[in-house]
Structures are given as C-alpha cells and as structure tokens.
Symmetry: C2
Subunit: 203 residues, 2 copies
DNA sequence: TAGCGTTGTAAGCACGTGCTTACAACTAGG
DNA sequence: CCTAGTTGTAAGCACGTGCTTACAACGCTA
C-alpha cells in the first residue's frame, strides 16, 4: 500500500516530490481517483476499465497490474474513501454529513462520493458485495447508536435507506424538484422526520 | 415449461379459448411476465434478452418481433404494471400500498414489482428514462397531493426516495435486519416519520 | 557504462451482449 | 387439398467487455 517514492536526485529536495516520468505510486492514485468518480457517476457496471484508465490518463493494463481486477479496484477505492469518513465523523453528525454530501453537486470536483459508489455498485449478484459490506455495516452500527430503542438497527437501516434513495433520485433519476432543491430545505425536512424515527415508541 | 396442448377443433367451445399450439398473444404475455420478474430481480442491464426468453419458454427472436427492442419490452412492462396500480389506488393509500409491496417477498410469485423495476432500470444514462419518466411523475403528483405545503412536490420526492431506498436495501443489498423485518413494524416506523414529513411547517 | 528490474504500451483473446436473418412448421381461407 | 400469411427456430453478426501477453522504454545500481 505504501509504495512511497524517494527523491530522484536532481529534483527539488523540498516537499514537492518533483514529477517523475515513471511513477507507480502516482499512477495508482490517478487510477483510484478516476475509479471513484466513474463508479459514482455511472455505477460499477457502467464504468468500464477502459473508461477509468482513459480518465486517469493511464494504460488500462496497469489497472490490472496494480489492482488485479476491476473488483479489486472497487474494493480499494471504497475502503480508502468511505471507511475513512465514517471513522472520522462524530456519530451524531454522520447522517447530516452524508446527506449534505449527497445533496451537494461536486462543483469543484471533490466531495465524498462513497455513498454514491455504494448504492451504484450492488448491481451484479453478490460479486462485489464483500467490498461494500464493511462500509454498510459501519454506517449501520454508527447510526444505530443514535437510537436507544431495541430495534435501533432496523431504524438505522431505514435511515440509510432514505440516504440512498435520495441519492438515487438526485444522481441517477435526476428528479425535479429534488435534484435542484436547496440542500438546507431538504436537510430541514429530512432531519425533522428522522427525529421522529429515532424517538418513536417501540410499540 | 408445460406447453400442454389440448385438441384444437374439438376443444371446449366455451369461454376458455382452448390452448393453441401457436398463439402470439400468449407468448407476448409470457414474455411480458418474464421480463417484469427478471427486470425486478436483476435490474435492466442484469437481465438479458436470452434470460427473459428462456424464462418465458420462448425463442428470443420473438422478443424482438413483438417488442422491437429490449427497451420496448421494458416500456411496455412498466406501462402495463406500474401505471395501472397508480391509477387504481386511492392517493392516500398509495404510499402504504407501495411500501407493503416492497416489503413483501413474492412468496407466491406475484406482487407488484413495478417500483423494483423502476429503481433498477435507470442504470445506463438516459436511454430508457423515457419509459420510466411517466411512472415516476405519476407517483410524484399523487404523493404531492397529500401535503398542502408549497413545497409539496419536494416532499413527494423525498417520500418516494425513501420507498426506493428501502427497496434497494431489501432487494439488492439484502441488508439485515431490514430484509427480514416484520412489514408491520417497518410500516409503523416509516408511516409515523412520514406524517412528520407531510405536516412539517414550511420554514 | 552495462545490466536488470520496474514502469508503460499495443495488440489481442475469449466471451457475453442486443439484434438480425434465412428458413421451417403450422394455421386459416379459398 | 392448396396456397398465403403467421408463428416458431437456429445460426450468426457486430460490438463491447474484462483481462492477458509479449514487448519496448526507462531508471536505478553496480
């Protein structure tokens, strides 16, 4: 994983590690970034290895050299981006953070696309379910901690379902008025209803 | 399959139109049914024309004779099943009806799969978005009539998002405990939170 | 500078896909 | 019975896919 590179000699010895013409670590990164974007935009099946390699500006054979398979690439991309956010966000903020990332178009290009990747990569049977399973379970356990009801896990699933559904309607169906709605307005509506979900009596 | 044949000619002349050995209308039906099921189970891209024809017990060339293309088949299947339900269900019952159909495994085989088809057929760009657009808009306009807020359409989108998200988590991710949860318990939680959604103040 | 492992490249393989075509088998109308 | 149109069938085409392989270009080390 760490494939770190040392200073090639004549390059500036400072922080900027002087562009190399042949840099395995750099092409790995480019592939990872391109994969994350394309998986989010077109789904796992819709994103082709040729497309990913092209967006990364890299020969497609290198994709298989560094990640073994398309699934391997997905697994590494999800593990890197998705799990990182879940780990770094306080539980009580996770839902709203994820919701906002779903609602914010990637104007500058970088938001967290991990949930979009998640929801669009479950297509083919259970082939790559393994890679996504861990991310889903992380979300579930964190969200479940927000309700003290006995069926907290079920409520967490329902919350995540809403997250994914909103993602679908926005990014793949492009449904109006949701797609262009003010994120604040959506947050207000969703978070209000979610409060009811968390605190509803057990039976 | 069973393609049993009765005697043509001497058959019962009553209402039952005596099975014919070559029956265009019947094979159209079989194709339509098989398509609805497979689109729901594997998604539009995951369902192959060969798979559909096989499940229907029909030569795949006939699929193209009767429906022109895979997209034509999808359009007709969605129009027949999905639109019919929206038209036949009272507005105030539509959400719960759809939710229950999402939560009820097709033990006997026939439930309404139109929403599953909807959520799993938006994959490739906007190719077949046309066929699905009408169904989505129908749901939206009916659900929007349940709230008298100015942003009723947005709230309808959010409600439908929840529906689709629950479908994803249940049928494609197979997430526990949601997948095996008691439909009644899920309905109670979701409908309660949805009530908050419909009646939340505008700002 | 010579050698050698690492990085990048081009071409292609095997397979699955949606769809077409040429033809046989059946049915209905005369 | 004969003929014409309808229904069913088998084979295949063109293309896109994930993945492999054989090879060239490069850069570090000795």
């Amino acid at each position: 994983m760490d494939r770190s590179v040392s200073d090639p000699g004549t390059g500036t010895p400072g922080e900027a590690p002087a562009e190399r013409r042949r840099d395995a670590a750099a092409t790995r990164r480019r592939l990872l970034d391109a994969a994350r974007d394309l998986f989010a935009e077109r789904g796992y099946e819709g994103a082709t290895v040729r497309g990913i390699a092209e967006r990364a500006g890299v020969n497609q054979a290198l994709l298989f050299r560094y990640f073994g398979s398309k699934q391997g690439l997905l697994a590494e991309a999800v593990a890197e981006d998705g799990l990182e956010r879940v780990r770094a966000t306080p539980p009580e903020e996770l839902f709203e953070t994820a919701l906002r990332s779903m609602l914010t178009r990637d104007a500058d290009g970088n938001g967290d696309r991990s949930l979009e990747v998640y929801l669009r990569s479950h297509s083919r049977g259970e082939e790559n379910a393994g890679a996504l399973r861990e991310l889903g379970e992380k979300y579930q356990s964190v969200l479940a901690s927000l309700s003290c009801a006995e069926d907290a896990a079920l409520r967490a699933d329902l919350a995540m379902a809403w997250l994914l559904g909103i993602g679908i309607l926005r990014t793949v169906v492009a449904r109006e008025p949701l797609a262009s709605a003010d994120p604040e307005a959506v947050c207000r509506l969703v978070l209000g209803s979610l409060d009811t979900l968390w605190h509803a009596p057990e039976k």
